[in-house]
Protein backbone atom coordinates (compact mmCIF):
# COMPACT_ATOMS: atom_id res chain seq x y z
CA UNK A 1 0.00 0.00 0.00
CA UNK A 2 2.86 2.23 0.96
CA UNK A 3 4.63 1.37 -2.26
CA UNK A 4 1.48 2.18 -4.16
CA UNK A 5 1.24 5.50 -2.44
CA UNK A 6 4.75 6.52 -3.21
CA UNK A 7 4.28 5.51 -6.78
CA UNK A 8 1.13 7.51 -6.96
CA UNK A 9 2.71 10.69 -5.72
CA UNK A 10 5.64 10.36 -8.04
CA UNK A 11 3.34 9.67 -10.90
CA UNK A 12 1.20 12.69 -10.34
CA UNK A 13 3.64 15.41 -9.58
CA UNK A 14 6.66 14.47 -11.58
CA UNK A 15 4.71 12.67 -14.21
CA UNK A 16 2.41 15.26 -15.48
CA UNK A 17 4.79 18.17 -15.44
CA UNK A 18 8.25 16.94 -16.13
CA UNK A 19 6.70 14.29 -18.28
CA UNK A 20 5.70 16.78 -20.84
CA UNK A 21 9.21 17.95 -21.33
CA UNK A 22 10.77 14.52 -21.41
CA UNK A 23 8.05 13.19 -23.63
CA UNK A 24 9.51 15.33 -26.32
CA UNK A 25 12.38 12.87 -26.71
CA UNK A 26 11.05 10.55 -29.40
CA UNK A 27 9.73 13.63 -31.16
CA UNK A 28 7.92 13.89 -34.41
CA UNK A 29 9.52 10.72 -35.53
CA UNK A 30 7.68 9.62 -38.62
CA UNK A 31 5.81 6.36 -38.31
CA UNK A 32 3.35 5.04 -40.79
CA UNK A 33 -0.11 4.30 -39.48
CA UNK A 34 -0.28 0.73 -38.20
CA UNK A 35 -1.18 -2.01 -40.63
CA UNK A 36 -4.88 -2.78 -40.82
CA UNK A 37 -6.03 -6.15 -39.61
CA UNK A 38 -6.93 -7.21 -43.10
CA UNK A 39 -3.33 -7.15 -44.12
CA UNK A 40 -2.49 -10.36 -42.31
CA UNK A 41 -2.28 -12.81 -45.20
CA UNK A 42 -2.64 -16.59 -45.05
CA UNK A 43 0.70 -18.04 -44.08
CA UNK A 44 1.92 -21.55 -44.65
CA UNK A 45 -0.71 -22.65 -47.18
CA UNK A 46 -1.45 -26.42 -47.30
CA UNK A 47 -0.25 -28.27 -50.35
CA UNK A 48 -2.29 -31.39 -51.10
CA UNK A 49 -5.61 -31.03 -52.79
CA UNK A 50 -7.43 -32.57 -49.88
CA UNK A 51 -5.67 -30.43 -47.34
CA UNK A 52 -6.51 -27.39 -49.41
CA UNK A 53 -10.16 -28.39 -49.52
CA UNK A 54 -10.21 -28.94 -45.78
CA UNK A 55 -8.56 -25.60 -45.21
CA UNK A 56 -11.08 -23.91 -47.45
CA UNK A 57 -14.00 -25.57 -45.67
CA UNK A 58 -12.57 -24.53 -42.35
CA UNK A 59 -12.08 -21.00 -43.65
CA UNK A 60 -15.63 -20.79 -44.83
CA UNK A 61 -16.93 -21.57 -41.38
CA UNK A 62 -14.77 -18.77 -40.03
CA UNK A 63 -15.91 -16.47 -42.78
CA UNK A 64 -19.52 -17.13 -41.85
CA UNK A 65 -18.82 -16.13 -38.29
CA UNK A 66 -17.08 -12.98 -39.47
CA UNK A 67 -19.95 -12.16 -41.76
CA UNK A 68 -22.47 -12.61 -38.99
CA UNK A 69 -20.37 -10.30 -36.87
CA UNK A 70 -20.24 -7.69 -39.64
CA UNK A 71 -23.98 -7.97 -40.17
CA UNK A 72 -24.49 -7.47 -36.44
CA UNK A 73 -22.19 -4.47 -36.45
CA UNK A 74 -24.33 -2.74 -39.04
CA UNK A 75 -27.72 -3.69 -37.71
CA UNK A 76 -26.88 -3.26 -34.07
CA UNK A 77 -25.30 0.15 -34.51
CA UNK A 78 -28.44 1.34 -36.22
CA UNK A 79 -30.70 -0.19 -33.59
CA UNK A 80 -28.77 1.43 -30.76
CA UNK A 81 -29.09 4.76 -32.52
CA UNK A 82 -32.78 4.10 -33.01
CA UNK A 83 -33.17 3.35 -29.33
CA UNK A 84 -31.48 6.61 -28.48
CA UNK A 85 -33.71 8.45 -30.93
CA UNK A 86 -36.85 7.01 -29.39
CA UNK A 87 -35.68 8.06 -25.94
CA UNK A 88 -35.03 11.51 -27.38
CA UNK A 89 -38.65 11.57 -28.48
CA UNK A 90 -39.73 11.38 -24.84
CA UNK A 91 -37.07 13.69 -23.49
CA UNK A 92 -36.57 16.33 -24.68
CA UNK A 93 -39.04 15.82 -27.58
CA UNK A 94 -42.37 15.22 -25.94
CA UNK A 95 -41.51 17.17 -22.80
CA UNK A 96 -40.93 20.25 -24.93
CA UNK A 97 -43.91 19.65 -27.19
CA UNK A 98 -46.30 19.28 -24.29
CA UNK A 99 -44.44 21.68 -22.02
CA UNK A 100 -44.75 24.55 -24.44
CA UNK A 101 -48.48 24.01 -24.79
CA UNK A 102 -49.36 24.42 -21.13
CA UNK A 103 -49.44 27.56 -19.11
CA UNK A 104 -46.23 28.85 -17.66
CA UNK A 105 -47.08 27.71 -14.16
CA UNK A 106 -47.33 24.08 -15.23
CA UNK A 107 -44.28 23.71 -17.42
CA UNK A 108 -42.13 21.69 -15.04
CA UNK A 109 -45.04 19.61 -13.79
CA UNK A 110 -45.84 18.67 -17.37
CA UNK A 111 -42.25 17.86 -18.24
CA UNK A 112 -41.88 15.82 -15.07
CA UNK A 113 -44.79 13.57 -15.96
CA UNK A 114 -42.90 12.34 -18.99
CA UNK A 115 -39.56 12.33 -17.26
CA UNK A 116 -40.97 10.16 -14.49
CA UNK A 117 -41.82 7.57 -17.12
CA UNK A 118 -38.20 7.63 -18.29
CA UNK A 119 -37.22 6.65 -14.77
CA UNK A 120 -40.01 4.46 -13.45
CA UNK A 121 -40.94 2.49 -16.55
CA UNK A 122 -37.29 1.63 -17.08
CA UNK A 123 -37.07 0.04 -13.66
CA UNK A 124 -40.45 -1.64 -14.16
CA UNK A 125 -39.29 -3.01 -17.51
CA UNK A 126 -36.24 -4.60 -15.92
CA UNK A 127 -38.32 -6.15 -13.17
CA UNK A 128 -41.36 -7.49 -15.02
CA UNK A 129 -42.42 -5.22 -17.85
CA UNK A 130 -40.37 -6.76 -20.63
CA UNK A 131 -41.35 -10.20 -19.50
CA UNK A 132 -45.06 -9.43 -19.43
CA UNK A 133 -44.92 -8.01 -22.91
CA UNK A 134 -42.44 -10.27 -24.65
CA UNK A 135 -41.93 -13.28 -22.40
CA UNK A 136 -43.14 -16.57 -23.82
CA UNK A 137 -46.35 -17.76 -22.21
CA UNK A 138 -47.23 -21.35 -22.93
CA UNK A 139 -50.29 -21.12 -20.72
CA UNK A 140 -53.71 -20.74 -22.27
CA UNK A 141 -53.58 -16.96 -21.92
CA UNK A 142 -50.41 -16.89 -23.93
CA UNK A 143 -52.10 -15.11 -26.77
CA UNK A 144 -52.92 -12.05 -24.68
CA UNK A 145 -50.18 -11.63 -22.12
CA UNK A 146 -46.56 -12.64 -21.62
CA UNK A 147 -45.17 -14.39 -18.58
CA UNK A 148 -42.78 -13.86 -15.73
CA UNK A 149 -40.21 -16.00 -17.47
CA UNK A 150 -37.96 -13.07 -18.32
CA UNK A 151 -38.55 -11.22 -15.09
CA UNK A 152 -35.40 -9.43 -13.93
CA UNK A 153 -34.30 -9.86 -17.54
CA UNK A 154 -33.61 -13.49 -16.88
CA UNK A 155 -32.52 -15.07 -20.17
CA UNK A 156 -32.35 -11.78 -22.00
CA UNK A 157 -28.80 -12.05 -23.21
CA UNK A 158 -26.32 -10.50 -25.59
CA UNK A 159 -26.92 -12.82 -28.53
CA UNK A 160 -29.88 -12.92 -30.93
CA UNK A 161 -32.72 -15.15 -29.77
CA UNK A 162 -33.61 -16.15 -33.30
CA UNK A 163 -37.27 -15.25 -32.85
CA UNK A 164 -37.55 -11.57 -32.11
CA UNK A 165 -34.19 -10.80 -33.63
CA UNK A 166 -31.75 -12.76 -35.74
CA UNK A 167 -28.85 -10.41 -36.18
CA UNK A 168 -28.69 -8.24 -33.08
CA UNK A 169 -28.35 -8.97 -29.37
CA UNK A 170 -31.65 -9.66 -27.69
CA UNK A 171 -30.82 -6.96 -25.15
CA UNK A 172 -30.83 -4.42 -27.95
CA UNK A 173 -34.37 -5.49 -28.75
CA UNK A 174 -35.26 -5.27 -25.07
CA UNK A 175 -33.95 -1.75 -24.62
CA UNK A 176 -35.44 -0.60 -27.93
CA UNK A 177 -38.85 -1.87 -26.89
CA UNK A 178 -38.39 -0.21 -23.52
CA UNK A 179 -38.22 3.17 -25.21
CA UNK A 180 -41.67 2.50 -26.67
CA UNK A 181 -42.99 1.50 -23.27
CA UNK A 182 -41.75 4.83 -21.91
CA UNK A 183 -43.28 7.14 -24.45
CA UNK A 184 -46.66 5.43 -24.66
CA UNK A 185 -47.94 6.27 -21.18
CA UNK A 186 -46.23 9.65 -21.46
CA UNK A 187 -48.43 10.49 -24.42
CA UNK A 188 -51.51 10.17 -22.24
CA UNK A 189 -50.37 13.01 -20.02
CA UNK A 190 -51.43 15.44 -22.72
CA UNK A 191 -55.06 14.72 -21.96
CA UNK A 192 -54.99 15.45 -18.26
CA UNK A 193 -52.41 18.20 -18.36
CA UNK A 194 -52.39 20.85 -15.67
CA UNK A 195 -54.56 19.01 -13.15
CA UNK A 196 -53.35 15.60 -11.95
CA UNK A 197 -51.31 15.05 -8.81
CA UNK A 198 -47.74 14.01 -9.53
CA UNK A 199 -47.88 11.03 -7.21
CA UNK A 200 -51.10 9.79 -8.77
CA UNK A 201 -49.74 10.35 -12.26
CA UNK A 202 -46.80 8.09 -11.53
CA UNK A 203 -48.92 5.37 -9.95
CA UNK A 204 -51.64 5.51 -12.59
CA UNK A 205 -49.29 5.42 -15.53
CA UNK A 206 -47.17 2.65 -14.04
CA UNK A 207 -50.25 0.50 -13.53
CA UNK A 208 -51.35 1.41 -17.02
CA UNK A 209 -48.04 0.21 -18.42
CA UNK A 210 -48.57 -3.14 -16.71
CA UNK A 211 -52.26 -3.69 -17.36
CA UNK A 212 -52.88 -2.02 -20.69
CA UNK A 213 -49.59 -1.61 -22.51
CA UNK A 214 -48.10 -5.03 -21.77
CA UNK A 215 -51.04 -7.11 -23.02
CA UNK A 216 -51.46 -4.96 -26.10
CA UNK A 217 -47.76 -5.17 -26.95
CA UNK A 218 -47.87 -8.90 -26.36
CA UNK A 219 -50.86 -9.42 -28.59
CA UNK A 220 -49.38 -7.50 -31.48
CA UNK A 221 -45.66 -8.15 -31.18
CA UNK A 222 -45.17 -10.93 -28.64
CA UNK A 223 -44.51 -14.61 -29.34
CA UNK A 224 -47.86 -16.30 -29.77
CA UNK A 225 -49.69 -12.99 -29.65
CA UNK A 226 -53.27 -13.01 -30.85
CA UNK A 227 -52.73 -10.24 -33.41
CA UNK A 228 -49.12 -10.96 -34.28
CA UNK A 229 -48.86 -10.94 -38.06
CA UNK A 230 -45.22 -11.99 -38.15
CA UNK A 231 -45.41 -14.85 -35.68
CA UNK A 232 -48.68 -16.40 -36.74
CA UNK A 233 -51.33 -14.74 -34.62
CA UNK A 234 -54.98 -15.71 -35.01
CA UNK A 235 -55.99 -12.30 -36.37
CA UNK A 236 -52.86 -11.05 -38.08
CA UNK A 237 -53.02 -7.30 -37.63
CA UNK A 238 -50.36 -5.22 -39.37
CA UNK A 239 -48.77 -2.78 -37.01
CA UNK A 240 -45.25 -1.94 -38.06
CA UNK A 241 -44.21 0.44 -35.31
CA UNK A 242 -47.11 0.78 -32.93
CA UNK A 243 -50.19 2.34 -34.43
CA UNK A 244 -52.41 0.25 -32.21
CA UNK A 245 -49.92 -0.62 -29.50
CA UNK A 246 -48.73 2.92 -28.93
CA UNK A 247 -51.09 5.47 -30.42
CA UNK A 248 -54.53 3.93 -30.19
CA UNK A 249 -53.97 2.73 -26.64
CA UNK A 250 -52.51 6.00 -25.43
CA UNK A 251 -54.94 8.15 -27.37
CA UNK A 252 -58.06 6.30 -26.31
CA UNK A 253 -56.88 6.10 -22.72
CA UNK A 254 -56.28 9.81 -22.95
CA UNK A 255 -59.89 10.38 -23.91
CA UNK A 256 -61.14 8.19 -21.08
CA UNK A 257 -58.89 9.98 -18.61
CA UNK A 258 -59.92 13.48 -19.53
CA UNK A 259 -63.59 12.50 -19.53
CA UNK A 260 -63.18 10.91 -16.11
CA UNK A 261 -61.20 13.76 -14.61
CA UNK A 262 -63.26 16.62 -15.94
CA UNK A 263 -62.12 19.94 -17.23
CA UNK A 264 -59.51 22.30 -15.94
CA UNK A 265 -60.91 25.10 -13.79
CA UNK A 266 -62.16 27.80 -16.08
CA UNK A 267 -62.10 25.72 -19.26
CA UNK A 268 -63.27 26.64 -21.85
CA UNK A 269 -64.22 30.16 -20.73
CA UNK A 270 -60.74 31.16 -19.62
CA UNK A 271 -58.21 31.40 -22.42
CA UNK A 272 -55.33 29.00 -21.96
CA UNK A 273 -53.00 29.69 -24.86
CA UNK A 274 -49.67 27.83 -24.98
CA UNK A 275 -47.10 29.67 -22.94
CA UNK A 276 -44.46 29.02 -25.58
CA UNK A 277 -45.21 27.77 -29.05
CA UNK A 278 -41.46 28.07 -29.54
CA UNK A 279 -40.77 25.24 -27.10
CA UNK A 280 -43.50 23.14 -28.70
CA UNK A 281 -42.02 23.84 -32.09
CA UNK A 282 -38.63 22.58 -31.04
CA UNK A 283 -40.26 19.57 -29.43
CA UNK A 284 -42.18 18.75 -32.61
CA UNK A 285 -39.02 18.94 -34.72
CA UNK A 286 -37.27 16.57 -32.32
CA UNK A 287 -40.26 14.25 -32.45
CA UNK A 288 -40.02 14.22 -36.22
CA UNK A 289 -36.31 13.41 -36.14
CA UNK A 290 -36.73 10.86 -33.37
CA UNK A 291 -39.59 9.17 -35.17
CA UNK A 292 -37.10 7.85 -37.73
CA UNK A 293 -35.77 5.69 -34.92
CA UNK A 294 -39.29 4.76 -33.94
CA UNK A 295 -40.47 3.70 -37.38
CA UNK A 296 -37.38 2.85 -39.40
CA UNK A 297 -35.88 1.22 -36.33
CA UNK A 298 -38.89 -1.08 -36.20
CA UNK A 299 -37.36 -2.95 -39.13
CA UNK A 300 -34.99 -4.23 -36.43
CA UNK A 301 -32.14 -4.03 -38.92
CA UNK A 302 -30.61 -1.40 -41.18
CA UNK A 303 -31.46 -2.98 -44.50
CA UNK A 304 -33.75 -1.78 -47.21
CA UNK A 305 -36.89 -2.18 -45.12
CA UNK A 306 -35.51 0.40 -42.71
CA UNK A 307 -34.97 2.72 -45.65
CA UNK A 308 -38.50 2.16 -46.82
CA UNK A 309 -39.92 2.93 -43.40
CA UNK A 310 -37.70 5.98 -43.10
CA UNK A 311 -38.93 7.38 -46.38
CA UNK A 312 -42.61 6.73 -45.70
CA UNK A 313 -42.27 8.27 -42.27
CA UNK A 314 -40.77 11.43 -43.61
CA UNK A 315 -43.24 11.71 -46.47
CA UNK A 316 -46.28 11.24 -44.27
CA UNK A 317 -45.09 13.82 -41.79
CA UNK A 318 -44.53 16.36 -44.53
CA UNK A 319 -47.83 15.67 -46.27
CA UNK A 320 -49.77 15.90 -43.03
CA UNK A 321 -48.11 19.16 -42.07
CA UNK A 322 -49.15 20.53 -45.44
CA UNK A 323 -52.68 19.15 -45.07
CA UNK A 324 -53.28 20.61 -41.63
CA UNK A 325 -51.78 23.94 -42.62
CA UNK A 326 -53.89 24.14 -45.75
CA UNK A 327 -57.05 23.18 -43.90
CA UNK A 328 -56.41 25.77 -41.24
CA UNK A 329 -55.56 28.43 -43.78
CA UNK A 330 -58.87 27.81 -45.51
CA UNK A 331 -60.82 27.64 -42.27
CA UNK A 332 -59.44 30.56 -40.26
CA UNK A 333 -57.49 32.53 -42.81
CA UNK A 334 -54.18 32.06 -41.03
CA UNK A 335 -51.87 29.07 -41.02
CA UNK A 336 -50.44 28.78 -37.53
CA UNK A 337 -47.12 27.32 -36.51
CA UNK A 338 -48.95 25.25 -33.92
CA UNK A 339 -51.12 23.88 -36.69
CA UNK A 340 -48.16 22.97 -38.84
CA UNK A 341 -46.41 21.09 -36.07
CA UNK A 342 -49.63 19.41 -34.96
CA UNK A 343 -50.08 18.28 -38.53
CA UNK A 344 -46.65 16.77 -38.76
CA UNK A 345 -47.19 14.85 -35.53
CA UNK A 346 -50.56 13.64 -36.82
CA UNK A 347 -48.91 12.38 -39.99
CA UNK A 348 -46.22 10.63 -37.99
CA UNK A 349 -48.88 8.94 -35.92
CA UNK A 350 -50.82 7.92 -39.01
CA UNK A 351 -47.85 6.36 -40.78
CA UNK A 352 -46.61 4.50 -37.71
CA UNK A 353 -48.54 1.25 -38.26
CA UNK A 354 -47.97 1.42 -42.02
CA UNK A 355 -44.36 2.55 -42.15
CA UNK A 356 -42.80 -0.72 -43.29
CA UNK A 357 -45.67 -1.84 -45.50
CA UNK A 358 -46.41 0.91 -47.97
CA UNK A 359 -44.83 2.77 -50.87
CA UNK A 360 -43.60 6.36 -50.57
CA UNK A 361 -46.51 7.63 -52.61
CA UNK A 362 -49.03 5.79 -50.42
CA UNK A 363 -47.29 7.44 -47.49
CA UNK A 364 -48.10 10.83 -48.97
CA UNK A 365 -51.75 9.83 -49.07
CA UNK A 366 -51.71 8.48 -45.55
CA UNK A 367 -50.15 11.70 -44.35
CA UNK A 368 -52.63 13.81 -46.19
CA UNK A 369 -55.60 11.89 -44.84
CA UNK A 370 -54.43 11.69 -41.24
CA UNK A 371 -53.45 15.33 -41.22
CA UNK A 372 -56.87 16.38 -42.44
CA UNK A 373 -58.68 13.94 -40.17
CA UNK A 374 -56.88 14.98 -36.99
CA UNK A 375 -57.44 18.58 -37.96
CA UNK A 376 -61.18 17.97 -37.99
CA UNK A 377 -61.05 16.11 -34.70
CA UNK A 378 -59.32 18.99 -33.00
CA UNK A 379 -61.24 21.78 -34.70
CA UNK A 380 -64.75 20.40 -34.84
CA UNK A 381 -65.26 17.24 -32.83
CA UNK A 382 -63.55 18.36 -29.65
CA UNK A 383 -65.30 21.68 -29.47
CA UNK A 384 -68.60 20.00 -30.29
CA UNK A 385 -68.36 17.52 -27.43
CA UNK A 386 -66.58 19.93 -25.15
CA UNK A 387 -64.25 17.50 -23.32
CA UNK A 388 -60.99 19.01 -22.18
CA UNK A 389 -58.34 16.91 -23.93
CA UNK A 390 -55.93 19.64 -23.01
CA UNK A 391 -53.13 18.96 -25.47
CA UNK A 392 -55.16 16.83 -27.90
CA UNK A 393 -53.67 13.47 -27.03
CA UNK A 394 -56.83 11.80 -28.25
CA UNK A 395 -57.40 14.11 -31.20
CA UNK A 396 -53.95 13.38 -32.55
CA UNK A 397 -52.86 9.99 -31.23
CA UNK A 398 -56.19 8.29 -30.74
CA UNK A 399 -57.78 9.49 -33.93
CA UNK A 400 -54.61 9.43 -36.02
CA UNK A 401 -53.62 6.01 -34.73
CA UNK A 402 -57.02 4.54 -35.48
CA UNK A 403 -57.15 5.95 -38.96
CA UNK A 404 -53.56 4.95 -39.62
CA UNK A 405 -54.18 1.37 -38.55
CA UNK A 406 -57.13 1.11 -40.93
CA UNK A 407 -55.29 2.79 -43.79
CA UNK A 408 -52.49 0.27 -43.29
CA UNK A 409 -54.98 -2.42 -44.23
CA UNK A 410 -55.78 -0.52 -47.37
CA UNK A 411 -52.35 0.54 -48.59
CA UNK A 412 -50.14 -2.35 -47.39
CA UNK A 413 -48.18 -3.65 -50.33
CA UNK A 414 -46.55 -7.05 -50.67
CA UNK A 415 -43.71 -5.78 -52.84
CA UNK A 416 -42.57 -3.62 -49.98
CA UNK A 417 -43.05 -6.21 -47.31
CA UNK A 418 -44.38 -9.70 -48.10
CA UNK A 419 -45.32 -10.30 -44.50
CA UNK A 420 -48.22 -12.57 -45.29
CA UNK A 421 -46.05 -14.72 -47.54
CA UNK A 422 -44.16 -13.97 -50.77
CA UNK A 423 -46.48 -12.86 -53.53
CA UNK A 424 -49.57 -12.84 -51.33
CA UNK A 425 -51.77 -9.78 -51.57
CA UNK A 426 -51.46 -7.76 -48.39
CA UNK A 427 -53.67 -4.69 -48.38
CA UNK A 428 -57.10 -3.90 -49.75
CA UNK A 429 -55.72 -2.11 -52.79
CA UNK A 430 -53.85 -5.26 -53.67
CA UNK A 431 -57.08 -7.16 -53.36
CA UNK A 432 -56.92 -8.51 -49.81
CA UNK A 433 -60.07 -7.01 -48.33
CA UNK A 434 -59.84 -9.35 -45.40
CA UNK A 435 -56.85 -7.46 -44.05
CA UNK A 436 -59.01 -4.45 -43.36
CA UNK A 437 -61.13 -6.62 -41.10
CA UNK A 438 -58.03 -7.79 -39.26
CA UNK A 439 -56.94 -4.22 -38.85
CA UNK A 440 -60.36 -3.33 -37.50
CA UNK A 441 -60.10 -6.20 -35.06
CA UNK A 442 -56.77 -4.96 -33.82
CA UNK A 443 -58.12 -1.46 -33.45
CA UNK A 444 -61.23 -2.66 -31.68
CA UNK A 445 -59.25 -4.71 -29.22
CA UNK A 446 -57.01 -1.73 -28.53
CA UNK A 447 -60.05 0.49 -27.96
CA UNK A 448 -61.83 -1.91 -25.66
CA UNK A 449 -58.73 -2.79 -23.70
CA UNK A 450 -57.87 0.87 -23.30
CA UNK A 451 -61.34 1.93 -22.26
CA UNK A 452 -61.92 -0.86 -19.80
CA UNK A 453 -58.40 -0.98 -18.44
CA UNK A 454 -57.98 2.74 -18.07
CA UNK A 455 -61.34 3.20 -16.44
CA UNK A 456 -60.69 0.56 -13.82
CA UNK A 457 -57.26 1.96 -13.05
CA UNK A 458 -58.59 5.50 -12.80
CA UNK A 459 -61.24 4.45 -10.34
CA UNK A 460 -58.74 2.49 -8.29
CA UNK A 461 -56.23 5.31 -8.09
CA UNK A 462 -58.92 7.91 -7.54
CA UNK A 463 -60.49 6.03 -4.66
CA UNK A 464 -57.20 5.26 -2.97
CA UNK A 465 -55.02 8.31 -3.39
CA UNK A 466 -57.09 10.79 -5.36
CA UNK A 467 -56.30 11.88 -8.90
CA UNK A 468 -56.80 15.57 -8.99
CA UNK A 469 -54.92 18.36 -7.29
CA UNK A 470 -56.93 20.69 -5.10
CA UNK A 471 -58.46 23.75 -6.71
CA UNK A 472 -55.95 25.96 -4.92
CA UNK A 473 -53.07 23.85 -6.17
CA UNK A 474 -54.47 23.97 -9.68
CA UNK A 475 -54.65 27.76 -9.53
CA UNK A 476 -51.14 27.96 -8.16
CA UNK A 477 -49.91 25.61 -10.83
CA UNK A 478 -48.34 22.17 -10.76
CA UNK A 479 -44.80 23.53 -10.62
CA UNK A 480 -45.19 25.13 -7.24
CA UNK A 481 -47.83 22.87 -5.75
CA UNK A 482 -46.36 19.54 -6.84
CA UNK A 483 -42.67 20.26 -7.16
CA UNK A 484 -41.97 23.40 -5.16
CA UNK A 485 -40.17 25.16 -7.96
CA UNK A 486 -40.75 27.41 -10.92
CA UNK A 487 -39.83 26.96 -14.54
CA UNK A 488 -38.44 30.43 -15.05
CA UNK A 489 -36.99 32.88 -12.58
CA UNK A 490 -36.38 36.51 -13.10
CA UNK A 491 -33.92 38.20 -10.76
CA UNK A 492 -36.93 39.63 -9.10
CA UNK A 493 -39.00 37.17 -7.20
CA UNK A 494 -37.99 38.08 -3.72
CA UNK A 495 -36.60 34.61 -3.13
CA UNK A 496 -34.28 34.45 -0.17
Amino acid sequence: MCDRFRHLLRVCCVGSFLGLLLAAAPVLHAQAAGPGPESHGVSGAPTTSDARLLALEKQNTDLKTSIASAQTAGDNGWMLVSSALVLMMSGPGLTLFYGGLVRRKNILGTMMQTFAMMGVITVLWALVGYSLAFGENTGHLGSVIGSFQNALLHGVGLVPDGVYVTTIPLQTFMVYQLMFAIITPALITGAFAERMKFSSTVVFLTLWAVFVYSPMAHMVWGKGGLLNAALGGKFPCLDFAGGTVVHVTSGVSALVTCLYMGKRIGYPKVAMPPHSVVLSFVGACLLWVGWFGFNAGSALNSGSLATSAFVTTHFAAAAAACAWTAAEWLKTGKPTALGAISGCVAGLVGITPAAGFVTPISALWIGLLTGAFCFSMVFFVKSKFGYDDSLDAFGVHGAGGTLGALLTGIFANSTINPILGAGKATGLLEGNAHQLLNQATGVAIAWVLSIVGTLILLVVVDKTMGLRVSAADEEEGLDLSQHGEEGYHSEFTGAH
Binding site: V270, E475, E476, L480, G484, E485, E486, F492, T493, G494, A495, H496
Partner: protein, 112 residues
Protein backbone atom coordinates in the same frame (compact mmCIF):
# COMPACT_ATOMS: atom_id res chain seq x y z
CA UNK B 1 -60.58 63.36 -12.46
CA UNK B 2 -59.06 60.66 -10.34
CA UNK B 3 -56.71 57.75 -10.79
CA UNK B 4 -57.75 54.43 -9.34
CA UNK B 5 -54.93 51.98 -8.87
CA UNK B 6 -55.91 48.47 -7.93
CA UNK B 7 -53.54 45.67 -7.01
CA UNK B 8 -55.37 42.38 -7.54
CA UNK B 9 -54.83 38.64 -7.83
CA UNK B 10 -53.65 37.73 -11.35
CA UNK B 11 -56.55 35.33 -11.81
CA UNK B 12 -59.05 38.17 -11.35
CA UNK B 13 -57.82 40.36 -14.17
CA UNK B 14 -60.36 39.13 -16.68
CA UNK B 15 -63.32 39.59 -14.31
CA UNK B 16 -62.24 43.06 -13.22
CA UNK B 17 -61.68 44.16 -16.78
CA UNK B 18 -65.15 43.02 -17.78
CA UNK B 19 -66.71 44.68 -14.76
CA UNK B 20 -65.03 47.98 -15.55
CA UNK B 21 -66.02 47.92 -19.19
CA UNK B 22 -69.56 47.13 -18.06
CA UNK B 23 -69.87 50.30 -16.05
CA UNK B 24 -68.48 52.43 -18.83
CA UNK B 25 -64.77 52.74 -18.10
CA UNK B 26 -63.22 53.43 -21.45
CA UNK B 27 -59.56 52.83 -20.86
CA UNK B 28 -57.26 51.03 -18.55
CA UNK B 29 -53.61 50.24 -18.25
CA UNK B 30 -52.32 47.02 -16.75
CA UNK B 31 -48.95 46.28 -15.18
CA UNK B 32 -47.42 43.05 -14.04
CA UNK B 33 -46.36 43.40 -10.42
CA UNK B 34 -45.19 41.52 -7.38
CA UNK B 35 -46.71 42.13 -3.99
CA UNK B 36 -45.71 41.71 -0.41
CA UNK B 37 -48.27 41.91 2.38
CA UNK B 38 -50.13 39.79 4.85
CA UNK B 39 -50.47 36.96 2.40
CA UNK B 40 -47.86 34.34 3.02
CA UNK B 41 -45.53 33.29 0.26
CA UNK B 42 -44.38 29.82 -0.58
CA UNK B 43 -41.24 27.78 -0.36
CA UNK B 44 -39.17 26.66 -3.30
CA UNK B 45 -36.42 24.08 -3.45
CA UNK B 46 -33.32 24.00 -5.61
CA UNK B 47 -30.71 21.32 -5.02
CA UNK B 48 -31.02 21.22 -1.28
CA UNK B 49 -31.51 24.93 -0.85
CA UNK B 50 -34.84 26.16 0.37
CA UNK B 51 -35.98 29.60 -0.73
CA UNK B 52 -38.91 31.37 0.78
CA UNK B 53 -40.60 33.51 -1.80
CA UNK B 54 -42.56 36.39 -0.37
CA UNK B 55 -43.14 38.54 -3.42
CA UNK B 56 -46.22 37.15 -5.04
CA UNK B 57 -47.46 37.75 -8.55
CA UNK B 58 -50.08 40.50 -8.70
CA UNK B 59 -51.67 42.59 -11.38
CA UNK B 60 -51.85 46.35 -11.06
CA UNK B 61 -54.70 48.05 -12.90
CA UNK B 62 -54.70 51.78 -13.42
CA UNK B 63 -57.63 53.75 -14.71
CA UNK B 64 -58.25 57.45 -14.68
CA UNK B 65 -61.93 58.37 -14.53
CA UNK B 66 -64.12 61.38 -14.00
CA UNK B 67 -64.95 62.08 -10.39
CA UNK B 68 -68.52 60.85 -10.70
CA UNK B 69 -67.39 57.39 -11.70
CA UNK B 70 -64.95 56.82 -8.87
CA UNK B 71 -67.25 55.09 -6.41
CA UNK B 72 -68.77 52.98 -9.15
CA UNK B 73 -65.34 51.86 -10.23
CA UNK B 74 -64.36 50.97 -6.69
CA UNK B 75 -67.55 49.03 -6.28
CA UNK B 76 -67.03 47.18 -9.57
CA UNK B 77 -63.50 46.20 -8.64
CA UNK B 78 -64.55 45.08 -5.19
CA UNK B 79 -67.31 42.90 -6.59
CA UNK B 80 -65.16 41.33 -9.25
CA UNK B 81 -61.93 40.85 -7.36
CA UNK B 82 -63.04 39.89 -3.89
CA UNK B 83 -62.61 36.30 -2.76
CA UNK B 84 -62.45 37.09 0.92
CA UNK B 85 -59.08 35.53 1.46
CA UNK B 86 -55.88 37.31 2.37
CA UNK B 87 -54.05 38.69 -0.65
CA UNK B 88 -57.04 40.04 -2.51
CA UNK B 89 -55.25 43.36 -2.83
CA UNK B 90 -55.81 47.06 -2.46
CA UNK B 91 -57.37 50.00 -4.24
CA UNK B 92 -55.81 53.45 -4.05
CA UNK B 93 -57.37 56.68 -5.22
CA UNK B 94 -55.39 59.80 -6.23
CA UNK B 95 -56.31 63.13 -7.68
CA UNK B 96 -55.08 63.71 -11.25
CA UNK B 97 -54.47 67.26 -12.38
CA UNK B 98 -54.71 66.84 -16.09
CA UNK B 99 -55.15 64.28 -18.85
CA UNK B 100 -54.27 64.55 -22.51
CA UNK B 101 -55.17 62.19 -25.33
CA UNK B 102 -52.06 61.89 -27.47
CA UNK B 103 -53.94 61.15 -30.68
CA UNK B 104 -55.90 64.39 -30.87
CA UNK B 105 -54.62 66.43 -27.92
CA UNK B 106 -57.99 66.41 -26.14
CA UNK B 107 -57.51 67.59 -22.59
CA UNK B 108 -59.21 67.06 -19.26
CA UNK B 109 -62.23 64.84 -18.80
CA UNK B 110 -62.67 64.72 -22.55
CA UNK B 111 -59.38 62.90 -22.85
CA UNK B 112 -60.39 59.90 -20.78
Amino acid sequence: MQKIEAVIQPGKLEAVKEALIEIGVEGLTILEARGHGRQKGHTEFYRGREYSVDLLPKIKIETVVVDELVEKVIRAILTAAQTGSIGDGKIFVTRIDDAIRIRNEDRGDAAL
